[in-house]
Amino acid sequence: MIENVLLKWCIDLFMFFLLYLIVTMNLNFMYGYTGIPHFGISLSVAGGGYVVGALSGRILRWVYNVYPELDFMYENSKITNEINANLANDPLVGIGVFLLIIVISLILNAGLGYIVSRPAIRLSGSYLIIVLIGMAEAMRIIGMNYYPLVGGTFWIHVPDVFNWMGELRTEGFLIICTLFTLGIFLILQAMSTSPLGRVVRAVRENPMSAECVGKDVVGIRTKVVVMCSALTSIAGVLYGFYIHAVLSTAYTRSTWTFYPWLMFMVGGIGNNMGAVLGTFVFVTLRRLIIFYKHNIEIYVPFQVQWLEQIMTGTMLLLIILFRPQGLLPEKPTKMRGLDYDKLHDELENKGVKVPEKKAEKGNIFQRLLSRRSKG
């Protein structure tokens, strides 16, 4: 019995780890590599969630023609139950709708990313921060007030597209999420070691000099925001399918903007492994707090969630004050196809002072993707 609870808790923990990891890695690519302070990242997560909430039920209802006479929003649970019964032995439709929703969410959120970044993408950090925070707030307000989207301040049920997996549904979905997260990790890791990765670092370090050598700084920034908004929305989609519901009130600034920022500040900026580590540390901590919340609740005359917020806020401040580079600091990227050992020797022969050679350390993916010529 206790093992069962523990297993469920571990699955839940891992699920949230994956969801937050998608957001954190994208944030890391935007801020850590390109220098775009995206403080409205909850907007993209909410965008993904809204797509799931608004479209998945409606598409499946149209496919199975369930209760065409009922109002979709008001009889939501009845319709969703009927759809779930249909989905239980229809894996093809389930997977098809899941993939379709992901594609729609990618396209819509890419467009959304373009729209929200448009006003201030060419301006300095502070303006961009103000605009993005405002836009995320606007997104939340639209979700809370536009009832047909995701049910306003109530919620909307999401059909269980993996119902055909039966007992193994949670585990199966976990594997699918792992695959998606791994895919996004590989895409971002490949991009950070590619020529684009070097360009975005140049844009981050000195936009003016990047412009001087003929790089379209605004274009690169826009591209990065658009791409990362699209990829982040996958976290929102998976979250919606995981909890079988979309709540507009769940996409607040503190849960989906502040916590991801905290996570990658903990892990280390400009470093995907840092994002992984920071997310893992923080999500574990947070799930533990949620698990033991009720034990504290009886002793204090207020809700424990405020205590949690004070704790996380203080944690972030302490990290900023005492270890601003995070747990894993950024390493210089290596160019593909360039022989660093040879370069090192050549520079040393010319009498240039170079740091000492270090043994190859990078993680397995870096080694896989950098394809260095040996010997």
């Binding site: 801020y31 302070p37 403080f39 448009r118 006003p119 201030a120 301006l123 950090g125 502070s126 303006y127 921060i129 103000i130 605009v131 925070i133 405002g134 836009m135 707030e137 606007a138 307000i141 639209i142 809370m144 007030n145 503190s254 502040f258 920022w261 905290l262 500040m265 005359p301 207020f302 809700q303 405020w306 205590l307 917020q309 004070i310 996380t312 806020g313 203080t314 972030l316 401040l317 900023i320 004050l321 601003p324």
Partner: protein, 315 residues
């Protein structure tokens, strides 16, 4: 005979302008958007709440208390976080994140207070409105008169401070060029500390007026925040006068615009009121990022031909 819409607009505009003056001041001195500012206002809101509901005094006794609380919090923020981080060489992004963290901590503190009042003292502490505790002069509610008088005093005081006093000139010099100002013997840290204290005091003061006219709670800071950002950006983030103009322009357009839209399209559109300042801000940023300050300067150059140089320009 005085339409309630105008009362709404004026009270709201006074509060927003008071806060956007502070927002711009801090941006000028420390070059960071002060996201913790909206929580100073929430503290002001709860000062009035405590005065009226718990101690059962006149709500206006909360004014000095709100100023003190806001100023104290701002002092803590500046001396505790912003100044040490700037000393370590942290950029504006790191400072912004730390301010967001502080905002979260303060807001959680206010929420704990609200929960405590609710659970221990059994007083309803969220979504309250204290209009009944306000006095009236004829058909004017007290908050309309007092907030208007206060904002006039604040504007005149700021103008006097910036142009007629030694400190104001030191402040302007610090804004123009901090290293040069410190070479000339200006204590930059003192200037920045006092600017932060003024900001905190103004935000706390704005907060004390809010519950006397609007339904308030821990979320009312967030309600104001977007309008404050928008008015500061529209004002240009480079001058206090721009912030005053931007504050009135944005908040009056917000209140009246949403009223007009509600009249045309129906009541449902009122929920999206926040989109008005956001849209205006986006338009200004896309076409003239310098905001009203630059637009006015351009118009002046066009009319008088040359850029007017004031004789009392500090440096």
């Amino acid at each position: 005979m005085f339409p309630p819409l105008i009362k709404d607009a004026i009270v709201y505009a006074n509060c927003v302008t008071m806060m956007s003056i502070g927002f711009t001041l801090v941006y000028l001195i420390s070059r960071i958007p002060n996201f913790a500012q909206s929580t100073f206002a929430v503290v002001g809101v709860y000062c009035t709440f405590s005065m009226v509901r718990i101690l059962e005094f006149n709500p206006y006794i909360a004014m000095p208390l709100g100023i003190l609380c806001g100023a104290f919090l701002a002092l803590v923020v500046y001396l505790g976080i912003v100044n040490p981080l700037t000393k370590y060489g942290a950029g504006p992004i790191l400072l912004t994140i730390s301010l967001l963290a502080l905002q979260q901590i303060f807001l959680a503190g206010v929420n704990i207070y609200a929960d405590y009042v609710r659970n221990v003292l059994n007083i309803y502490s969220r979504g309250f409105m204290l209009r009944v505790n306000d006095f009236r002069v004829g058909e004017f509610p007290g908050v309309l008169l007092i907030s208007t008088v206060t904002i006039i005093i604040v504007i005149v005081g700021m103008h006097f401070l910036l142009t007629r006093t030694q400190f104001g000139i030191a402040m302007r010099a610090t804004v123009e060029n901090p290293p040069l100002a410190s070479v000339l013997g200006i204590n930059i840290k003192r200037v920045a500390t006092i600017s932060w204290v003024i900001t905190g005091g103004l935000a706390g003061l704005a907060g004390t007026f809010l519950p006397l006219w609007f339904s308030s709670g821990p979320g009312s800071g967030g309600m104001l925040a977007t309008s404050v950002f928008a008015s500061s950006v529209v004002g240009g983030l480079t001058s206090i006068y721009g912030a005053i103009l931007g504050g009135y322009l944005i908040s009056l357009l917000e209140v009246w615009g949403s009223y007009l839209l509600m009249k045309t399209f129906g009541l449902w559109i009122g929920a999206y009121r926040l989109l008005i300042p956001l849209t205006l801000m986006s338009i200004v940023l896309m076409y003239e990022p310098g905001g009203l300050a630059v637009i006015i300067e351009k118009v002046r150059t066009k009319l008088w031909g040359t850029k007017r140089v004031r004789e009392d320009e500090p440096i």
